[in-house]
């Protein structure tokens, strides 16, 4: 314990995004620059070199891995290395690629240990590979819900899911493997078992995407669209993620394929549109690539949730205009979306370079982004969506929740109540806009829709029981404040301190046991496919 006479250090884990120079946030960068001791774990040599340039004394944690060494042992070693200087009273910053709390074991463990010993410890979010997937595939996970799992966990614990919502599986190249391996793909056999399992839930010919985010600013993501039956033979690495679109005809294989394969990778000669997210905390989470788009645009149009971000955007680009006047009190949100899309497209049609900026991640819960990109491309312009820090990235960091542990089910609260998706209560559930269940028209103020909250509470009560405790979470407007984190019982939810912007985190009800037969089968498959 860092009691009297014991040196008090501090610990920060930050995310570099998928490529540090383009996706690290200013708050993460400041932490990395200022700490007494810095460590990093990044997967591409350019990011490593860039971090080393910033802090020549930066120590890579990569040496903790060794071929066929259990990853658990590597994580323990990393934890011990970063905690040693904290215990000597040093401030320590650890930069990890992607988001430091998503599918990352040592960060959560080290933060808990440091806090237990009395040292302040925190996590700053980073752009995750899933953030890149949403941007690159043009998917809004809030539109129809999105269920994400670590692939081995998905199979071994037989996680339940609803095929009417999107399904994302992480680490499909490492199924059933608990050691570190040098090869690109760790288990072809595991991938085939996954393919068999999914084929039981989707129709023949259902098209999926094997996705890998770009690792360099000038690189392209890898996107293979293929029928589920061919998944077992796909080009897959340990960085690959599987996206399975909803089964319904409304997102049919053909429209999905068109959306992915129609993505214009070559630059158009016509003016282009960049849609970016500002993250939260005003300017603290903007990525360098998004900042560059904000600054260089002939016209910047934005919609943000706080006035400080608005003032900051105007200081970055004097040609900035807010889109907030597209809302009309009492009118449907859909009408505002149409108006915003037209405002964004108008300067583009005059051959001006346009940047549209939104709070958070521009692909999550922002229909304007997707529609503006679609329309711009239809009209022959280049258009891109850049990933950003989302509300859930902040939640994972602030609540210390790793979505890889039990999976993460994400739904818009209104959609969840109306459509009643089949969910597995042993996974973590996030419900966005918990205070706006029945709100369809725009209105001023933050007051929640209490009747809608009562309906939500009733649906959750049937699934989890009245006494199950949930967390009401809200990102603060300003960087010097802490997030709102309120623990309430489901039975008390309708009277809880919720606003229309609150997110509800429903922790798993019970721990899902491993199916030992499946685990053994995966292990055997991994051994034979080395």
């Amino acid at each position: 314990m860092a009691g009297a006479g014991v040196a008090k250090g501090s610990l920060a884990f930050v995310g570099t995004g998928l490529y540090a120079a383009g996706q690290i946030t200013p708050e993460a960068l400041a932490s990395f620059r200022e700490a007494d001791r810095v460590f990093d774990l990044v997967v591409d040599p350019i990011s490593r070199r860039w971090l080393e340039e910033l802090r020549p004394s930066a120590e890579s944690l990569f040496g903790a891995y060794a071929h066929e060494k259990p990853r658990r042992a590597s994580y323990d070693e990393m934890e011990a290395r970063v905690l040693a200087p904290v215990r000597q009273g040093r401030s320590v910053c650890v930069a990890l690629y992607g988001h430091p709390g998503v599918l990352v074991d040592p960060s959560h463990g080290a933060i808990q240990r440091a806090r237990f010993e009395g040292h302040p410890a925190r996590m700053l979010p980073g752009v995750s590979s899933e953030d890149c997937l949403f941007a690159d595939l043009g998917i809004d996970p809030a539109a129809r819900g999105c269920q994400s799992f670590e692939a081995t966990d998905f199979l071994v614990r037989k996680r339940g899911f609803d095929p009417r919502s999107a399904l994302i599986l992480w680490q499909i190249g490492a199924i059933g493997v608990t050691t570190y391996r040098r090869e690109e793909l760790w288990s072809r056999g595991g991938l085939k078992i996954l393919s068999e399992a999914l084929r039981r839930c989707y129709p023949r010919g259902h098209r999926v995407a094997v996705y890998e985010a770009a690792r360099f600013a000038i690189g392209e993501p890898s996107i293979q669209v293929l029928p589920l039956e061919r998944l077992g033979h796909a080009r897959v690495s340990t960085s690959s993620t599987l996206y399975v679109p909803p089964v319904d005809a409304s997102v049919s294989g053909s429209s999905f394929q068109h959306r992915i394969e129609g993505f214009p990778r070559t630059r158009s000669v016509r003016a282009g549109l960049s849609v970016v997210g500002t993250g939260y905390r005003v300017a603290g989470q903007i990525t360098p690539e998004a900042h560059s788009a904000l600054e260089s645009a002939d016209r910047l149009l934005y919609l943000v949730t706080d006035p400080a971000t608005s003032a900051w955007l105007t200081s970055v680009n004097p040609r900035a205009e807010s889109l907030d006047d597209c809302y009309r009190t009492g009118e449907s949100g859909a009408a505002a979306v149409c108006r915003m899309v037209e405002r964004i497209l108008a300067p583009l049609r005059e051959e001006l370079e346009v940047c549209a900026a939104f709070s958070g991640h521009p692909a999550i819960g922002v229909p304007v982004s997707h529609e503006a990109v679609r329309r711009a491309r239809t009209e022959g312009h280049s258009a891109r969506l850049l990933p950003a820090i989302s509300f859930e990235d902040c939640l994972f960091a602030d609540l210390g929740m790793d979505p890889g542990d039990n999976g993460r089910l994400l739904f818009d609260a209104g959609d969840f109540v109306r459509r009643a998706p089949r969910i597995d209560t042993s996974s973590a559930l996030l419900l966005i806009q918990a205070g706006a269940v029945d709100v369809t028209n725009y209105r001023d103020g933050e007051e929640p829709d209490r009747a809608g909250l009562a309906r939500l509470s009733e649906v959750l009560r049937r699934l989890y029981g009245a006494d199950h405790e949930v967390v009401v979470y809200q990102i603060p407007d300003f960087p010097m404040f802490d997030p709102t984190v309120e623990h309430v019982r489901i039975s008390d939810l309708s009277e809880a301190p919720v606003t229309i912007r609150s997110t509800l985190y429903v922790p798993p009800l019970a721990y899902a046991a491993k199916d030992s037969l499946v685990a053994e089968r995966l292990e055997a498959a991994a051994l034979t496919s080395v």
Partner: protein, 66 residues
């Protein structure tokens, strides 16, 4: 709209150390900054709603994308 106060907050957002200093001791964090006494008084309250009002608002309060 108090642009100076807004830009001061933007500065805090890029500098976690300074934001931490503000949390502990707002006056020392605001020392030497180009802020009016009204700006300082409002920021000192650490009240999100008061700060929002002081900054002015062209962000839709409770923006919901439906």
């Amino acid at each position: 709209m108090s642009k100076k106060a807004a830009l001061f907050i933007a500065k805090l957002s890029k500098d976690p150390k300074k934001a931490g200093q503000f949390r502990k001791d707002p006056d020392s964090a605001m020392k030497g900054e180009d802020l009016s006494s009204k700006d300082k008084a409002v920021l000192r309250t650490k009240d999100s709603e008061k700060i929002r009002k002081h900054l002015g608002d062209d962000a839709p309060p409770g923006c919901v994308m439906i």
